[in-house]
């Protein structure tokens, strides 16, 4: 899985930063199961429309690579679904602990 962050006040800096990468095979079983549940919850959510009036809001692209199949989820601060927010929060917590 990868997490990319776009836009925001620090957009010029975010452009330069590489995506954060998580190899789910390295996760403990319970963490892996929780992440799978969060991904399953976020995937059916409709793709968020680009915010019209928001300025400097950030958007996030989460890519799941699984057995040659790729699923890309992109949502922004102002149009984010609760399921996507939960998944993003889990990933951010995980990367913060690395």
């Amino acid at each position: 899985m990868t997490l990319e962050t776009h836009g925001g006040q620090a957009a010029a800096i975010n452009l330069r930063l590489p995506p954060k990468v998580l190899d789910t095979d390295t996760l403990p079983e319970d963490a892996s199961a929780e992440l799978a549940r969060l991904v399953a919850g976020a995937v059916p959510e409709p793709a968020a429309e680009r915010p019209d009036r928001a300025r400097d809001a950030m958007s996030y692209t989460i890519t799941v690579e699984d057995g040659g199949r790729s699923t890309v989820l992109t949502q922004s601060d102002t149009t984010m679904s609760p399921a996507f927010a939960s998944l993003l929060s889990w990933l951010e917590n995980h990367f913060a602990q690395q």
């Binding site: 990319e4 776009h6 836009g7 925001g8 006040q9 620090a10 957009a11 010029a12 800096i13 452009l15 330069r16 930063l17 680009r50 915010p51 019209d52 009036r53 928001a54 300025r55 400097d56 809001a57 950030m58 958007s59 692209t61 992109t74 922004s76 601060d77 102002t78 984010m80 927010a85 929060s89 951010e92 917590n93 913060a96």
Partner: protein, 403 residues
């Protein structure tokens, strides 16, 4: 008729009644015009009042909410209101003060009544999400993150960032610059310009003493970066191993072409804003004094005259026209605008490059001695040219004499 004239009429109703009965045609007509104008204004106020629900009234009253590290604004807790006491939370108080300073700047400098010029209330949300490295304008209100504590710190700590975000609201209510490519970069630049001006105004700094930095406070002390952006030196705000060199260009020849996608920063709106940012810095320092006075007014009037799809060239032309309208053709202010855009690679439409160079050199000479009357500068130029022509005429006469 006069019974309905409210106390805010400048001429008292009884006096107007007397003037209406005057035998003199001019006096009668003037009184009649005044009453018609007053009635018109009354009508306008009545119409505005009928839209009270959508006009976001509130005299710019401030309210700050605490997101308590959540992402949902509707469930945030009230932290401070206009009439309430100060909070024990510094982030709340900084946001509250920043909203107030920005409101006061627009009111006192441009006589603008809050973001929408109709008294829009100002709502701010602090502690958004967890370790959130950003502040943004969601179309109606401001949202601040705490920063991750490693690279970024609390975004309420930067007055120019607060003013930057609120200025997005001003732009939305004036030109409505579309948020992609050149119009988007202009949108970002306008927020940087007025964000910096709010800070300069608050500190009473002149153009030559201001730092012209956006967000110098948002980085933690261990990060080798001056700020998010530098208007004085786009491309030089930071250069470190963690996130590389500031990619902002300071000239059209270095314009950065990026895709119009979220991943491409909507065509580099935070990147190419460096070009108009530099043009404003050069204009302000070329004119001298307080940047919010002449340069700020020219930019503000140009913003109000712009539209959603205004490009760099259009905006440059508009600032040149506004400088002429405000300060006169050939004024030091207009020459400073001309020279500034020329230095970032944009020629004002209708001003040939050769003429622009000559005029801007005159402008630069004026700039070195501070703000001068444009007519005086032109008179000096004419005087120099007259001397040269006279000298040439003498030389020609002398040559003829030799023949």
């Amino acid at each position: 008729m006069t019974r309905t004239c409210r106390p805010n009429c400048i001429v008292p109703p009884l006096l107007l009644e007397k003037l209406l009965r005057s035998d003199k045609t001019e006096v009668h007509q003037a009184a009649l015009d005044t009453l018609l104008t007053t009635a018109g204004l009354r009508g306008e106020r009545a119409v505005r009042a009928s839209f009270a629900g959508t006009a976001t009234p509130g005299n710019g009253r401030r309210t700050v909410f605490d997101c308590q590290n959540g992402r949902s604004l509707p469930v945030s807790a009230l932290a401070r209101s206009e009439d309430g006491p100060a909070s024990t939370d510094d982030s709340v108080n900084r946001a509250f003060d920043g909203l107030g300073t920005t409101h006061d700047f627009y009111h006192e400098v441009f006589n603008r009544n809050s973001i929408d010029d109709r008294g829009m209330r100002l709502d701010g949300y602090v502690h958004f999400s967890a370790k959130y490295n950003n502040a943004f304008w969601d179309g109606q209100q401001m949202v601040f993150g705490d920063g991750d504590g490693e690279v970024f710190t609390d975004f309420t700590g930067s007055l120019d960032v607060i003013a930057h975000e609120l200025t997005h609201g001003v732009t939305e209510n004036t030109a409505g610059l579309a948020y992609h490519d050149q119009s988007g970069a202009l949108n970002e630049s306008i927020s940087d310009v007025f964000g910096s001006l709010v800070k300069q105004w608050f500190r009473k700094e002149s153009a030559d003493t201001a730092d012209w930095l956006i967000g110098p406070e948002v980085f933690t002390p261990g990060i080798d970066a001056d700020a998010l952006r530098s208007m004085k030196a786009p491309g030089q705000a930071y250069d470190n191993a963690l996130f590389g060199k500031d990619p902002q260009p300071d000239h059209m020849s270095r314009f950065v072409h990026l895709p119009d996608t979220e991943r491409g920063d909507n065509g580099g709106v935070h990147i190419n804003s460096g070009i108009p940012n530099k043009a404003f810095y050069l204009t302000a320092t070329g004119i001298g004094g307080f940047a919010w006075e002449a340069a700020g007014l020219i930019w503000y009037e140009a913003l109000k005259a712009s539209t959603a799809e205004t490009q760099f060239q259009d905006f440059a032309d508009t600032t040149y026209q506004k400088a002429e309208a405000l300060y006169g053709a050939g004024s030091a202010e207009q020459l400073a605008v001309l020279a500034a855009w020329q230095e970032v690679g944009i020629q004002i439409t209708g001003v040939p490059a050769g003429v622009a160079r000559t005029r801007s050199r005159a402008g630069n000479r004026n700039g070195s001695t501070g703000r001068q009357d444009g007519l005086t500068a032109l008179a000096k130029q004419i005087g120099i040219l007259t001397t040269q022509v006279t000298s040439l005429a003498k030389d020609v006469a002398a040559l003829k004499g030799k023949k």
